[in-house]
């Protein structure tokens, strides 16, 4: 997958839920000159473990090094590189767009096509929530632009392997 012409890769890391762990990870990326295009963090299904999804820019060798360096961090339990074809990835965006009596219905049509949601309406604007892969959100954003986009808030990418197996190979009841 490519953004800005650079190759990107998705890494998912299972990390111990300890203070400073995000700092350790981001500090390592900065120190070694790796570029993070996006980062999302949240609790996992296993107690005391969080899952981080990174979108890393760079060639295969860079991503391999980044993976190894992640593993060197004591709080990182597992790192998986997801392939673009065998994984599902989603981002979410909140987009605040100008709307008038004349444009409102046209915007609502667009929202329906993109299976987005209107989450707030005021007399001259609305907030739309849209979920999907990066391209979908990019194109939705571009289509709204002529109406006057006032603010965009995007999350980082979260991603998961397709199929029945879990990326970490750990049992949910693993003692950690």
């Amino acid at each position: 997958m490519a953004t800005n012409g650079k190759a990107t890769h998705t890494l998912v890391a299972l990390v111990q839920d300890k203070p400073g762990v995000l700092n350790r990870v981001s500090s390592m990326f900065r120190r070694r000159g790796y570029n993070i295009a996006s980062l999302a963090v949240g609790h996992s299904e296993i107690p005391n473990l969080s899952r981080m999804t990174f979108v890393v820019e760079g060639d295969d060798a860079t991503v391999e090094q980044a993976t190894k360096q992640l593993y060197k961090l004591i709080d990182v339990v597992r790192v998986n590189k997801l392939s673009d074809t065998d994984s599902v990835s989603r981002e979410m965006a909140l987009i605040k767009v100008k709307s008038t009596v004349q444009t409102r219905s046209e915007i609502i049509q667009m929202v329906e096509i993109f299976k987005a949601n209107i989450v707030d309406v005021s007399p001259d604007s609305m907030i739309i929530e849209v979920t999907g892969d990066q391209e979908k959100i990019d194109s939705f954003h571009n289509l709204l632009e002529p109406f006057g986009v006032k603010e965009v808030m995007r999350t980082g990418r979260v991603a998961m392997d397709r199929g029945p197996s879990s990326s970490h190979g750990l049992d949910k009841s693993s003692k950690l």
């Binding site: 111990q16 700092n23 593993y71 060197k72 004591i74 990182v76 339990v77 950690l176």
Partner: protein, 567 residues
């Protein structure tokens, strides 16, 4: 809590300097006479002494410092240990929990500033966690690729009451170093070794850390493979051995770099292909397949492309590998290296009457029969010590390699001597580095630590001067030391025996007197400032740009106008 935990880890020696935030810990020290405390004069000395202690003994070095400036003073020493894989546990005091984040007096974000230079670190927010954290810290520091671990403890946590329960095991799901090499990879490696016509071994620090001296010798002798050693790999293989080829790279002997250039198989053992070894990567070992054995997966493939990577402890991997390696002889290849050696005699002493560092180090090597523990600083004297001292005993070279921290030579020698009290420790110092940490002479006197210091006093930052000469048109700016103290008088002021040597004829006597003296000695060798280290492969270049003697420099620079400025 802290002292009890340290005793459980078998610690009996600590380097430190107290201050407000760590005072509660120091107040418990009188109850623990088993823990010897060496009071340093600067916290950098504590960290570097702990590093020297680990390298000489294999036992984790421990350093104490207070919050804020105490902790930041440790950092150069910690960074040095981190680059060179030294196991160290630093315990720092922090301001009381309620004051954290309030810019309190002597507050510092110690875990923040040490994050990039430690293997791991901790801020302990309750006393009950201390035993577990100490247990984990020692485990992380000494296993896998060793490194420094820092534990920051707020002042009020030291005095908080809690049940002391020392865990038997650590529970670190994210930390499981691979020790045994993968059998398939070992099989592949053995096949390559058995098929190679011109194999070389590149032995690094990992051989020393894993104490794989015998295993390395077995492999080298069984398959008759010449052994090249990196700077930190010096003393992993006896240099008196017929298969020893010496150090390659920027200031290595030319025949070692040339042997790598011509080899068809490079077996790297616990080395990480630093730029000082490889020069320009694209021209490094162009004909060789590479087997890379290292405990740290991240150094494999980091700088050079590897055909057979093996992650594991060097000693264990070699034990498995040696069983599959067939006996062989490579007479033709050894003859070829011998020819390189005679065509490129890199260790010729300058033929003049001047007192040179090369001459002194050769004499020191001869007199001590290559058996002293050598601790060096960083720069010309370090390179000449690496070149001219014939390391014949295992683990006798202690030097700041990766970080290249000047000033290492004084405290690290102190730590090494405390680790091995019955051996002779010679600290090879530059006048520049010595003046960075010479305050530790007071520590040395106080604790009767009999280190012998050989100051290579050229009144210059010699290696920087050499670069100014070679690459910056002789612009000798800010490298001359015009205000050096009288080192003999300085030694005497500390109550240490001081000797001065200004002439070749005095060298042997001075070394012998120092060896015979049962206390510390400072020898001020007043050496020629214009002598430069050769051979030299200019930074970022390859063996083709090798400069073996001063008169070749101009030609190399002329042929490579793009070389400047180097990095």
């Amino acid at each position: 809590m802290v002292c009890e935990s340290l005793l459980r880890e078998g610690v009996d020696l600590v380097f430190g300097l107290p201050g407000g935030a760590i005072l509660p810990l120091y107040q418990t020290m009188p109850e623990y006479p088993q823990l010897r405390h060496i009071l340093v004069r600067h916290e950098q000395g504590a960290a570097m002494a702990a590093d020297g202690y680990y390298r000489a003994s294999g036992r984790v070095g421990v350093a104490f410092a207070t919050s804020g400036p105490g902790a930041t003073n440790l950092i150069t020493g910690i960074a040095c240990a981190n680059m060179d894989s030294s196991a160290m546990v630093c315990i720092t005091g922090q301001v009381a929990r309620a004051s954290i984040g309030k810019d309190a007096f002597q507050e510092g974000d110690t875990t923040g500033v040490t994050l990039p230079v430690t293997k791991h670190n901790y801020l302990v927010m309750k006393a009950a966690d201390i035993p577990r954290v100490v247990k984990e810290a020692f485990h992380i520091a000494k296993t896998g690729r060793p490194g420094p671990v820092l534990i920051d403890i707020p002042k009020d946590v030291f005095i908080e009451q809690a049940e002391f329960e020392y865990p038997d095991e650590v529970d670190l799901p994210g930390y499981k170093p691979t020790l045994e090499g993968h059998p398939t990879q070992i099989k592949k490696a053995a096949k390559l070794i058995n098929e190679a016509k011109k194999p070389v071994i590149l032995a690094g620090h990992g051989v020393i850390i894993s104490r794989a001296f015998d295993e390395l010798k077995d492999l080298a002798e069984k398959a008759e493979i010449p052994v090249i050693t990196t700077l930190l790999g010096l003393s992993s293989f006896p240099e008196t051995h017929v298969l020893s080829v010496g150090m390659p790279g920027m200031h290595g002997v030319a025949y070692a770099s040339l042997a790598i250039d011509e080899s068809d198989l490079l077996i790297s053992l616990g080395a990480r292909f630093d730029d000082r070894v490889t020069g320009r990567i694209s021209s490094f070992a162009p004909n060789a397949k590479i087997i890379h054995i290292d405990i740290d997966p991240a150094v494999i493939g980091q700088n050079v492309k590897t055909l057979v990577p093996i992650v594991g402890d060097v000693r264990r991997v070699l034990r498995a590998l040696n069983k599959q390696v067939e006996g062989a002889s490579h007479t033709e290849w050894l003859d070829q290296i011998e020819k390189l050696r005679s065509e490129h005699p890199s260790l010729r002493l300058p033929d003049n009457t001047k007192l040179t560092q090369q001459f002194i180090l050769k004499q020191l090597s001869d007199i001590t029969k290559g058996k002293a523990i050598i601790v060096t600083g960083v720069g010309q004297h370090q390179m000449w010590a690496a070149q001219l001292y014939t390391f014949s005993e295992p683990n006798t070279m202690i030097t700041s390699g990766g970080a290249g921290a000047m000033g290492f030579e004084v405290p690290a020698a102190m730590g090494a001597q405390l680790a091995r009290p019955n051996e002779v420790v010679w600290s090879i110092a530059g006048d520049g580095g010595f003046q960075m940490t010479m305050s530790e002479l007071a520590t040395i006197v106080e604790n009767k630590i009999p280190v012998k210091f050989a100051i290579m006093n050229n009144n210059f930052l010699g290696m920087v001067r050499q670069w100014q000469h070679m690459f910056y048109n002789d612009t000798f700016y800010a490298t001359e030391y015009t205000g050096n103290p009288d080192f003999v008088a300085l030694a005497k002021a500390f109550g240490i025996m001081g000797l001065r040597v200004t002439d070749k004829t005095q060298v042997a006597d001075a070394i012998n007197s120092a060896n015979d003296h049962d206390g510390p000695v400072v020898v001020d060798f007043v050496v020629d400032p214009e002598e430069n280290v050769y051979p030299m492969i200019p930074p970022g270049e390859s063996i083709n740009e090798l400069v073996e003697a001063p008169d070749q420099l101009a030609a190399v620079l002329e042929a490579n106008p793009d070389m400047m400025p180097p990095s």
